[in-house]
Symmetry: D3
Subunit: 292 residues, 6 copies
């Protein structure tokens, strides 16, 4: 990396950033941090490399980071090639038996292993797993007002595989398919899986990469970013329309994780390079932090 | 299971089988056994369940079993659906860039996870991994007289991930794709990968499931089965045409594993239900055993 | 062992026996099983070797087996040679001071060490101990309507010596003499000692070798064997005369072991070779199983 | 214990004895000391209790003491009662098959367990074992100019059982019978067994209790005791008749133990109460010390 | 050490002292014993060496001994050299800011390290620490009817440093200065610190070296020594004037230690050489023992 | 700390500093770094706090930092108060017996404990030790052309105490006095002690805080700083006068540490706040780095 701030002034800045960062590094060392990865940060190759590079750096300083990813665009592309129609109901993919097989194959065999490979090239050691491995994610058919086919509702997380992977020094990269008692494979929403996994692991922190700066009073005005929210304020924010649409289930998932023992939940802007490092290791943080 | 041999006679038989089996069980407990799984035993659902059931039983009595699988038919089927032509050169699949991606996706995302799921339904705990995970299988382009595209030649096996999985109580199920230093994905022959993995693990035993009874002097006459062969006899058997065609590289791979410290290599008939149990836990064994 | 059932049929049988046995082997591995050894199986050299061979096989597959033995015939023979009269009161040996010394000497010095030696010849590693060692069996004079001299009533079992022996990889072979607080040596009934030891160890299983097939509705008709009994049924069976005489205290002892945490108590026919293996590792079992 | 030296003078003496003793206690803590016990100290009940009391005290302060005992008088008495003639050849008991059984029974079942019981009464925890247990003492027929029947020549000591016993906190009490490969039981000389065990354990110290004060230039004059001898001086002492008769093999056995790594060998007077404590924990020691 | 009691009589005495001492040695091995060291035993070089020699012997036999020392005379001498007036209020040194610095410097840098050095010369391994190290002694200004300046009242003992030192094999030598939350250094009374440390460590025993024989009904008559006192008798003894003046807070401190879990508290005569050994390792003990 | 660089630009800088720093943090985690502390950074209270703050931050991220300090000014001040003349020979303090006592007292009791206290106030846990503790620094009289009295030449470093302190989670703060075999206390040069300690610990890094920017070709021109030097260039730099005076022994000491296995030696400007953090955790480093 080229040195953009040389000399005594640069030394001051470095000292200041490091003095601020070291206590956070110490605070997180040995702790579990779950990163939910999706959106723009997943389709832009430069951002993808920046995120994976941050993940590797976190693991280098002893943080037990778990990467949970989605993969909608790749699934849609493969369904297209196979001539299978993508159908969405209430914003969720309707998953027939044939689609469920494609979801498993693409998520666990392509998206997941590609991330594992990239982490390897960047100097990390990752293990790509899905909810089938070690019976990690148990699920049943999600019941709702509309039938979604093989979309699953999580009934249990067996965290042993993730914990083993972390203890053995791997970065677990998790594709979110799950299985029923009889072996039926279900397609699981990645946000939901990430919050359930964070809750089951009693993670220190769950970080969700999104395509916006965070919660904002006025979406068009960055200066209206809400840096911190208490869960008790959520009802009012939803009632006031500040939180709406697809953001509601995301926020409710994070709330549930906090209630299960996760210490902190943050939504950060996946479009900002290295936003994970800035969030975790500086006094200011970025995005919106949710706490009990 | 229904009792087909009741009363005192049955007791005699049970006592005899058990008295014979227990020392073998004790011999293998804690030892690594690599099973190469392919052929008919992989496409027939009844045989597939019998093999996975044997794998689960081996792990129940403390044997550290590693399952290495192929997946040709499923790959061919998917390539067909995607309208990509399957082309074979010298009996090996020519693998262009697009095909390599499909191989990775199908082997690691479908075949592999389906086996993991079946083991789970049968009461075992498996972890599906491929050569990308933890940088397990390092490869480079296989050089030969004909170009095979992204077919890989193994340059190194990092056994740590398999060893961690075994220590943590999982049955590692291995899909044989590998990566180059730059992250390029290669398609790896499963027989070759199984013997290299067995050698790297210094396995006690490598068992290859095939579609014949073993080495036979006359393929059409089961009574000509050769139960045991020394590696020093291989040259003569090949010269005499007893070993020929695709069997030659299989046998040479097993020979190499033995030379690297594996104690015993056997080829058994995957079409016989529970042939793995019979091979490992009875005085007679079945198939052909190869030793130094 | 000669192969009495060759070819495909033999393979089927082997697969069937092994498929049935392996889950039991896994179930018992690492668990404590107490075997009470006495009767015909102790005086017939062929049966003695078959029993000791089973004991060695159990220990080979990781079962923590404890052998508790009697020794009446050898004691009587030695008393005879020494010109000391054997006298029985209520079916128990009247034990004067001189007899108590002979009991200790023969049980702990001859019967016990001979079994240890035989286990060694069969490939096992045994440690012969008696209730004096490590203060294992504490006793006081048994009070009853008739004076029995130095016959002891167990007041406490210190299981540490047995647990140390098991952890160190030995098969503990236990001669049942005990000591009072002042060092007085008492003669202890082996059935009683075995059930108290099983209870104190919270054994998985206690197996009593007897000279009959098990509990039978008609002693002269093998087909009337009662394969399983609940302890709540014992009163009725005693009242009905099905259980009578010396069998009553044996059964009550097993009942007490079950109430103290032992999972299963079985009485099997010591005259059937390898009856221990058949009982433990097949679906049918043999003899009579007693559970809560 | 009554206080025979009260007041300031007593304090001086206590301080002096303790100041002298503590470094020795520290020196021996955690070290293995083999005590060969026989002779008068074994037949006199008061001396027996004093010796066992010393053994218990040694173990209390963390010394890993191993007690190896003989038992000639009790064996002779039992043979007498059984009407079997005791015959001695070259000072060693001629042991026919019947005698060998009695030796095993009396040594391992009576003498040994009586010592274990006495140690228990005095507050220690002992484990009585013989060479049969755990295959500890392997032997073959002793060949010499005269046939001695089942008198054994030690071919190997497997120290694991003793080491396990010591690690588990027991005082191993060893009866010296051994077994051949086929399970034949041999009568082993206790002095020889003690030196071989000390050598195999690389003991810090071997202490032999005898019925004389030590090596003396004039047996009738206590003032001629030789407090320390180098092994290089033994030839001259034997040539000069100072060491003669049964003392020669004892001394040669100790010499062999020293050559195998035992640090110090001492012969002390078993007739002096607490001679073990005085030897080990005072500046002067008693008896004769043999070193390389 | 010269041998003042040779021959058989000497052997008897040694055996008697050792037989009495060994159970005490065993009792204290691995236990924590706090020794409060001050008074004449600290200024007389011969006594100082005898005490340090006892401390080394205790640690040799595995006792976890903690030495807490005062240092009044050396502090007074240094204050004198620096021309700072020593002023006492109610028997405690008035400590202004300048004096507090001298107290820290002399206690922690001179008295403490000189003791560490002497222990090293005598063969022990000591670690000199003060209440500042590892934040061991937390204190605040002692409030009372008269202002004492920087004299501290202990608010907490963090025992980890002492426990680490003991586990690592060092004899902790403790200088009694402490710090407030803001780093202010306080002068702490050594008797108080010793009892608080003993209480926090749940020590087995606290031994206070004083300049008298113990509690005496008539200070001028040694025969009126009270060898043992229960804490419930203290009120009466104080009311009766038997315990008076500076002895009252000492005794109350020991009482508090007992109430916090210390098993035994003794005051012994530091003027008697090796009084610590005699107290701990003989039946009689010396001085006065205080128990609940 | 106030935020001097807010907004997106600040985020960029933070990301850049952190991305650069994390690999260094990972590199040093668990490694031993010795910091030699003296000069201006020791007498200026602001710099002292910045240095101690850096030390605490290093320990927070798992670096095993050892602080070795001098203390000349405080020693001189105390000698002055006590009316003892400070005399220097060849730049080293002539140390008579009286001076040696003052050196020990001030260094170990005042300077050392004051640093420990400051580290404690800043949130770290330190243990103040000197070469007397645990016999850490063994020394003899330094022989040279002029007599220096009790100035010591190090004969051995026993690193166990430092290693124990590090393992137990303390920052060892080392005052450089040492002792001879007879307990004589010697005054040891802190630069020499630091390099010997670093060598004995096979430290990863030794950092010497000085009052200049590093080695400079022209002392008056900061731009002539030599950022890196190989030890093979030292002779030429000394011959050329670039390294001269008191800098020669400092540089030679660092050279010796490198030859003993220390990986890197750096001299940095103690007058720059947080120079330790900048040196260790940025790409540029500061000062002069010396390597083999």
């Amino acid at each position: 990396m080229e040195n953009q701030f040389a000399g005594h002034a640069g030394d001051d800045i470095r000292a200041q950033v490091l003095t601020a960062a070291l206590p956070y590094i110490q605070k997180y060392t040995g702790k579990v941090v779950v990163v939910k990865y999706g959106g723009n940060a997943m389709v832009n190759d430069g951002l993808k490399e920046a995120v994976m590079s941050d993940i590797v750096l976190l693991s280098l300083v002893g943080i037990r980071v778990v990467l949970v990813h989605g993969g909608g665009p790749e699934i849609s592309a493969m369904l297209g090639k196979l001539g299978i129609e993508s159908r969405f109901v209430d914003g969720l993919r309707y998953t027939d038996a044939q689609t469920a097989q494609v979801v498993q194959m693409v998520l666990a065999g392509k998206t997941n292993k590609d991330l594992v490979s990239l982490i390897g090239v960047l100097g990390g050691r990752a293990l790509g797993i899905c909810g089938i491995d070690g019976g990690m994610i148990k699920a049943r058919k999600l019941e709702g007002k509309n039938d979604l086919g093989y979309v699953g509702d999580i009934t249990g997380i067996d965290t042993r595989l993730i914990e083993h992977a972390l203890s053995d020094g791997y970065i677990p990269v998790v594709a979110t398919v799950g299985t029923g008692e009889d072996g039926t494979v279900y397609n699981i929403n990645a946000d939901t899986a990430a919050t359930e996994i964070a809750a089951a692991l009693k993670a220190e922190n769950i970080i969700t990469l999104t395509d916006i700066r965070g919660l904002m009073r006025d979406v068009s005005d960055d200066s209206t970013l809400i840096p911190a929210v208490k869960t008790c304020e959520l009802d009012a924010l939803i009632a006031g329309g500040i939180i709406s649409g697809g953001m509601i289930p995301k926020v409710r998932g994070l709330e549930k994780a906090l209630e299960s023992g996760v210490k902190k939940a943050v939504m950060i802007d996946g479009r900002v390079p290295h936003s994970i490092l800035i969030e975790m290791f500086s006094n200011e943080g970025i995005g919106t932090m949710l706490t009990l």
